[in-house]
């Protein structure tokens, strides 16, 4: 087809939206981070002071630590567990459809909804988790800093496994039959089948899951907000950024924090993309 200038017209709402609600805010954010703008009152240029203040801010450091630990453990589990479950129900058996539909349910619940339920599950004296583990009266999941990251991780894994589960199910269907059959003839057992054929074939999916899961966990905001308002160590950096801006009114400082936060996320992504060549195979 020839040059369709009308294309510009068709994409204009979308591009306008991106410019107005994504690009401009980012640029504005960079400007704000160099000021001490508060919710009320004037703002002055203070250069990089906000950024240097970050390193003396204990709560910034602790929420960053919580976020990184949470992202690390949640992503690891959310990469492995959904795969195991997808492998588990891979074979055709009566009721397989039922279980697939059932396993998808957790993600249907919104984060505030499921977090509200987990407030009870995590109760120290009557909660189901402690009843199950025999730790009644002892483990304060939402009242003990040491248990903050585990409580976030458990919730995240229950809630978000279906997202990656579905991607793995789709990926497993593309594993080439003939190679599997050839390996069986060669006497390959289950372990060999999985590690030498299945896993290499689905590396693109694993990569996609790693990147999206990490990014999503790093920005987690609703879980700490609902579970216990970010107290006792559950506050993630996202939540602290929100608090700094909208509860403490420090717009300039919050902007600087979120800029720094973005750089961290980009760094993680960069590392992941660089390592991609080493282990992701396409069309083996």
């Amino acid at each position: 087809m020839k040059n369709n200038k009308i294309g510009y017209l068709f994409i204009s709402p979308y591009v306008f939206g991106i410019l107005a609600f994504s690009v401009f805010p980012i640029l504005f954010n960079i400007y704000l981070s160099l000021t001490n703008k508060k919710f009320i009152g004037s703002s002055e240029y203070i250069g990089l002071t906000n950024f240097t203040n970050l390193f003396n801010d204990n709560f910034f450091i602790s929420s960053l630590r919580t976020t990184l630990l949470f992202a690390l453990f949640a992503t690891s589990l959310l990469t492995v567990i959904p795969l195991m479950i997808a492998l588990l129900i891979h074979d055709n058996f009566p009721g397989r459809q039922f279980f697939r539909s059932l396993y998808f349910m957790p993600i249907i619940m919104s984060a505030p909804a499921i977090a509200a339920i987990f407030i009870f599950i995590y109760d120290r004296d009557y909660g189901l988790l402690n009843q199950f583990l025999g730790l009644l009266g002892k483990a304060a999941w939402l009242g003990n800093e040491a248990l903050a990251v585990p409580s976030l991780v458990i919730l995240a894994v229950w809630h978000q496994t279906p997202v990656n589960f579905v991607l793995y199910v789709a990926a497993l269907q593309d594993v080439p039959e003939d190679i599997i059959e050839a390996s069986v003839i060669d006497g390959a057992g289950l372990i060999k089948k999985i590690f030498y054929i299945v896993l290499p074939t689905i590396t693109p999916t694993i990569f996609l899951i790693l990147v999206t899961t990490v990014t999503f966990q790093m920005q987690q905001f609703a879980y700490p907000a609902i579970l216990n308002g970010g107290r006792f160590g559950t506050a993630t950096l996202s939540y602290y950024i929100y608090q700094t801006g909208f509860e403490f009114g420090k717009f300039g400082y919050s902007s600087a924090m979120s800029l720094f936060f973005s750089l961290i996320i980009f760094a993680i992504m960069l590392v992941q993309w660089n390592m991609k060549k080493k282990w992701v195979h396409y069309n083996s």
């Binding site: 009308i6 129900i89 996609l208 973005s262």
Partner: protein
């Protein structure tokens, strides 16, 4: 389809072991839902009992009635429905126009623009919240639904991605024959492409609709009147209110979750395939 089994005689044991695991995860998945139902139906009975009573002594809908009458839960559900519908409507229009253009129309810089847009969408949302708030304040849109609808409605990258992907599967012949018949690009888009896009638009509507329904940060930041709260914000508000009457909170959660759950039961395949389509070709 390859089979997850050992090759030899241990098959029976293995199947037994697998079944235990499959059922165990099913139980783990169902537990919170059961707790939700059980707790919400508990009246005049403490949810704090050891061991946890799965079946309430006198199940009743009193908590639901209370939450609806005294705490106006249905108002908040209605607000969510309004925001969601408008957002999805806007997304469908914007994403279909953009997705089709990026896939089929030739104009200078098309692919560069597309890449730029995708790149920008990867920047964390937290970076924009304060600038956006200041912008919305200048526009006097604080405490309205506009900041909840417009940004998400106009910049839904997943939607553009899905439509663009889908358009590559539409044969060129449709457009070409219409072109030969003298149709202009507008007519081609509205009368030929749009009807063909229906399956993809359903996926976009489901994903975008759920995203809007579950949105927590934007309503939290922009809605100040309690009457304007959406379902998710109402839940957060209730979490602070019902600390001594947990079953009522659970009743509110149940009402918040019900619409999406009902929709899921009716449209299961559609839901799952929508989530899958985002993962195509990484």
């Amino acid at each position: 389809m390859f089979s997850i089994n050992f090759n030899k005689k241990n098959t029976v044991i293995f199947i037994f072991f697998k079944s235990i695991l499959i059922i165990s995860w099913a139980v783990v998945v169902l537990l919170p839902f059961i707790i939700l139902l059980s707790g919400a139906l508990k009246v005049n009975e403490s949810i704090y009992s050891l061991p946890f009573r799965w079946i309430p002594k006198n199940p009743s809908f009193d908590n639901f009635i209370y939450v609806i009458k005294e705490f106006k839960m249905l108002n908040y559900v209605f607000n969510s429905i309004v925001v969601m519908s408008l957002t999805v409507a806007l997304q469908s229009c914007v994403c279909s126009l953009a997705g089709y253009s990026f896939a089929r129309l030739n104009f200078k810089g098309r692919d560069k623009i597309f890449l730029m847009c995708m790149f920008v969408m990867m920047i964390p949302y937290t970076t924009s919240i304060i600038p956006l708030f200041i912008m919305m304040n200048k526009l006097k849109w604080i405490n309205t639904f506009l900041p909840l609808i417009l940004p998400q409605g106009l910049t839904y990258a997943y939607g553009v991605f899905i439509i663009r992907q889908f358009c590559t599967y539409i044969p060129n012949s449709y457009e070409e024959s219409a072109f030969i018949d003298g149709a202009n690009q507008f007519e081609i888009f509205f009368h030929i492409i749009l009807p063909l896009l229906k399956p993809a638009l359903v996926s976009v509507a489901i994903l975008g609709g759920i995203g809007s329904w579950n949105d927590f940060m934007a309503p939290l930041i922009y809605l100040q009147d309690q009457s304007k709260y959406t379902t998710q914000i109402a839940l957060r508000f209730f979490t602070g209110q019902f600390t001594s009457d947990y079953p009522k909170l659970l009743a509110a959660v149940a009402i918040a979750v019900l619409p999406v759950l009902a929709l899921y039961f009716m449209l299961q395949k559609l839901f799952i395939s929508s989530y899958m389509s985002v993962g195509i070709k990484g």
